[in-house]
Symmetry: C2
Subunit: 288 residues, 2 copies
């Protein structure tokens, strides 16, 4: 087993995030009907006989995966996608210099492979960060009845990527780190776990790679946040003491953004005359 350090701290045991192995017991194997993530998964809208048929294709494909295992390799042919029920994953690619670049972290209730349907191969590698539990969903099981939900899940995934973009585009290292912590906090909260007591399943090197900074800087940043009594950390356990304070740190005086080339309204509008729909598109002007 590879449990994180400090798991036995006596205080605050009620709201603590439970260990993967514990959480795993509560989820039936491939039984979508009783899965707490059904609404976030492909069969969300299935019922009755159709649900039963789907389950039948899936139920033997649900299984545990130990920490540190490769789920798929970048470049592998795709024959299925995955639903993460317990544990966590990292997505990463191998860069030309032989190093890795971590591109995403995934937590329970997430579908793995949303960028892949109708593509030929996996664009990124996935590896477990801790003992996990995954359902394999063969592409053949994704019938047209599931397309609507698949589209929904993909749009949610896209939006999450946009959030990540915002985090990465933040100027200072401090803000990137804070934004990351807040994101984690929100994820844990949505999973019914404590939003203030974070147990990071990934290493600081992973986080630093994800945020585009050096792990030394990450470590220093966290140390400074601790000195400011915004949080307390002990290894990979981070307790957020001042969540509003962190939010303030992230949003306060963010660096510049972009006005744009201005085309004043009221210009002789030769193009527009030819069509009569949507007569009022606002002109985009700089905010201040």
């Amino acid at each position: 087993m590879s449990m994180p350090p400090g798991t036995n701290t006596p205080s605050d045991s009620s709201a603590r995030n439970t260990a993967p192995a514990d959480r795993m017991q509560t989820s039936g194997r491939g039984n979508c009907r009783v899965c707490i993530f059904k609404s976030r998964c492909l069969p969300a809208e299935l019922e009755g006989e159709r649900l039963r048929a789907f389950e039948q294709q899936i139920w033997r494909q649900s299984r545990p995966v130990k920490a540190g295992q490769m789920l798929v390799h970048q470049g592998d042919m795709i024959d299925s996608i995955y639903a993460l029920r317990v544990g966590s994953l990292k997505a990463f690619i191998d860069e030309p210099d032989g190093n890795e670049r971590v591109m995403a972290f995934r937590f329970p209730g997430t579908i793995i492979g949303l960028a892949e349907p109708y593509q030929k191969q996996w664009g990124r590698s996935f590896a477990t960060l801790e003992d996990s539990w995954l359902c394999r969903i063969p592409l053949s099981a994704i019938t047209e009845a599931l397309h609507r939900q698949l589209i929904h899940l993909m749009s949610v995934c896209l939006r999450r990527e946009y959030e990540a973009h915002l985090t990465l585009a933040l100027s200072s290292g401090t803000r990137k780190v804070v934004s990351f912590l807040l994101e984690l906090s929100a994820i844990f909260k949505s999973l019914g776990q404590s939003p203030t007591h974070l147990r990071l399943p990934m290493t600081y090197l992973d986080v630093a790679s994800y945020l585009g900074m050096r792990h030394e800087s990450l470590s220093r940043t966290l140390a400074q946040l601790q000195k400011q009594t915004l949080l307390r950390k002990k290894g990979k356990e981070i307790h957020i003491d001042d969540l509003p304070g962190l939010l303030r740190l992230k949003t306060e005086d963010v660096i510049g953004a972009a006005p744009m080339a201005v085309v004043p309204a009221g210009t002789p509008d030769s193009y527009r005359g030819s069509i009569d729909t949507d007569p009022s598109l606002a002109t985009h002007r700089r905010s201040k």
Copy 2:
């Protein structure tokens, strides 16, 4: 009109990117059948009667939009998505401090709103960077027959976001800028335009916002690349002189990535015994 400066440089007129207004003439209004982007658009797989029916819903919705117009506002209700045929857009959000953060640039042959289907409102604002031509596709026109193609387009869009993530996670400003230029170059090339003579439709402020850096730094970086004879620039016209050199700059000694917690293979594998699929998941080990 808001044409960029320096458009009349005498040299190299053959491979030059033509002006939006010129390109616009060649594309019929809402006529998917003859649209050069049909294969990248929703009706890609439609033919015969179905294609005719789709066109009938679309053809009055195709129209020009002048530069500097807001296409949709963040928070607007969604009733349609758009296909960009000519011109360019920027996607951006308003940040708490009143500034903008540019999150993406879009070029012809792209669908706008792929993060939005089955969401209620637009997550980002879109504005034209130059005179453009757009087809409005009402959500009601997206029947189940189009779902497969929609999923494909979304997966492509997701992958492009991952590319952007890689660009943003690059350590140095130089590499971010170079990566951005190479991305632009590839886009122009895929549109049949010169991959070395780039005419940026967006301002440097937009680019800097997108890359998470200050526009002064961007300007300085470009000036330095010019001094190294990798490119020549004149305002927003950038001519790439040494494309391999830029590629080298981007990939060479990229900063660190992440090894991870190692769980050696050959550990007593209590979990695995219970299931017999996929017996060989590789263990993830650090690269060097």
